[in-house]
Amino acid sequence: MKHRRLRVLVTLLAVWMVLIVLRLYDLQVRRYDDYSRRAEQQQQRVVKLDPPRGTIYDVRGRELAVSVEVRSVAADPTVVADPAATATALAGVLGLDRDKLGRDLSADRAFVWVKRKLDPPEVESVRALELEGIFTLPESKRYYPLGSLAAQVLGYVGTDNDGLAGLEFLYQDVVASTPGRRTVVRDARFDTALYPGLEVEEGKPGQSLHLTIDGAIQHVAERELERAVASSGARAGTVVVMDPQTGAILAMASRPTFDPNHFRASPREHWRNPAVMDVYEPGSTFKMVTLAAALEANVVDPLEKIDCQMGGITVLGAKISDHKPFGELTTREVIARSSNVGAIKLGLAAGRDRLFTTIERFGFGRPTGIDLPSESAGLLRPLARWSDVQPAYVSFGQALSVTALQLVNSFAAIANGGELLKPHVVAEIGNGEERRRWRGRESVATPIAPSSVIQVRSMLESVVLDGTGKTAAIPGYRVAGKTGTAEKAFKGRGYVDGKYVASFVGFAPIRDPAVVCVVALDEPWPAYHGGEVAAPVFAAIVAKALLYLGVEPDRERSLPWPRAEPASASAEVA
């Protein structure tokens, strides 16, 4: 009897164990894949790795654009108990539309954005509310720590960190980071842990841009431009400062401007970069090109005087006048005093073919190739479409349009001995040891022979010494340049009285030019001549830039040392 009971018990136990083994087999072998997958879903979580976007530095290593992590507020509407009350609380703290937020929080979705990329005080305010269903997520935000400095060059990014303008747009593929992902295990308390063997895909941070822009020179240019626009009553202004020996852009400023941290707060037209996008008739500053063409054509006799016909000339029925009556002037005086009649005679003597070729070789009529988006080629009619009177107009800078960058680049060719260079803004790309040269000195053409360069430089110096550009003089340095006062033409209306673009473009010091600069003011009034309003701005910017760069003053000084009395605005301005 005893044994029988034992046998029954053992049998039952054995059956039970067999059932367990079968069940284990079913769970761990037959359904291994299914339960494995479920366990992974429950226990593992994929975390997105978002490396930062590349930083943009100026030439001295100052950060101009950086990415930092900030928090964004999101909601899980399925968990929000009282959408209306939650919306009211959040709208008050974040300044949002309460009704729209209320609708979002009532949506049949598990995730909605409330507000993205908040500042830390806003995040703390939201956290303090301790609202159910409301949480924060990390996101990357682009900051421009120096505000509007070089804004039109840098550009800006959208909410999802895509470059929308400027360098941020053009170099999007370079500065954008590559996201990564990492799988972590998650427990019942939603704590996470790394575990070997789980998938890790390291992201890659964006590459940094190292610019040629110098923050200090940029700041000086912007500040002087701001003052000039305000004092002259101009509606806009542009300054470009360049190293003529390398083509590196040291500063590029425009007014009005915007703050890329809050670009939507400014009108869309302020986001443009007029230095490369906007064209204007260069006026008398273009006489440098006419002079170069005449010298290359060997039609300039330094001893010969040109009859400027007391301020008026008629070319094939078109009457063109000077800003004041001139009699006979040498070529040097034609440039120094900016005689239109004299320039026309030089241009006609050079011949339309030579004139056109020289214009082209100085880079007009095509983009310079600078690494900035949406660069304009300017407006230059093909030679075949030139009217008979066109050479006359072109000779004194009308009937064609140029950008400020094209103009300063052409003067850089005179400054560096006759080479037209490709301007550039980005010098190097990369982080740490991977940093590499991106753009450097690149010669595009040789528009003028070195022997002609010397003569052009000398004549451009006359403009500043005793011509229309005396206010561009910088004590201690020899300066060469040209003033310009161009009438503005409007579509359908032609040239309008009282509307001018006043400009000055020049370089210093003459013996070894370190800086070339253009200043252009749009519609200054009542003073509107380049010598009155633009040349002093050039002097203010370039004087500081030369000192900052440690450029020694000229020994063959054209002005006495120490500093002479400041030159007063001359009546001879053009």
Binding site: P52, R62, E63, V66, V68, E69, Y143, P145, L146, G147, L149, V184, V185, D191, T192, A193, L194, Y195, P196, G215, A216, Q218, H219, V220, R223, P475, G476, A543, K544, L547, G550, E552, P553, P562, R563
Partner: protein
């Protein structure tokens, strides 16, 4: 009780022995060894797994802390960039130190010092 038929002798239990079953003993040792080994193996695996998980938590925690500190440093760097920007410096220099831009006369060039 005294009796001539009762012989008193001290009990010597050493003569009472259980016969050893060597086979069963070997089986027992084998099973015990196997159980101990398996248990030790399971324990070792479990403790390694727990240790790994624990280390994983710690790594994740440190990783988040590192990330937080990096972001904090980045924010500080941002502040430094802003405070050392040319406009901010100029405003403070003018306002607090009453400084002005230097003139050419105030500049001393290296070549002049060398002479």
């Amino acid at each position: 009780m005294r009796s001539p038929y009762i012989v008193r002798r001290p009990a010597e239990n050493i003569y009472l022995v259980r016969r050893r079953d060597r086979r069963r003993r070997r089986e027992l040792v084998g099973v015990a060894t196997a159980v101990v080994l398996v248990a030790a193996g399971l324990l070792a695996y479990t403790s390694i797994h727990v240790e790994m998980l624990s280390t994983g938590y710690r790594i994740d925690e440190l990783s988040r802390e590192l990330h937080r500190l990096q972001q904090e440093e980045r924010h500080r760097q941002l502040q430094i960039s802003r405070l050392t920007g040319p406009e901010h410096l100029e405003n403070r220099a003018r306002r607090e130190l009453e400084m002005e831009y230097p003139t050419l006369e105030q500049a001393i060039f290296r070549s002049e010092v060398a002479r």
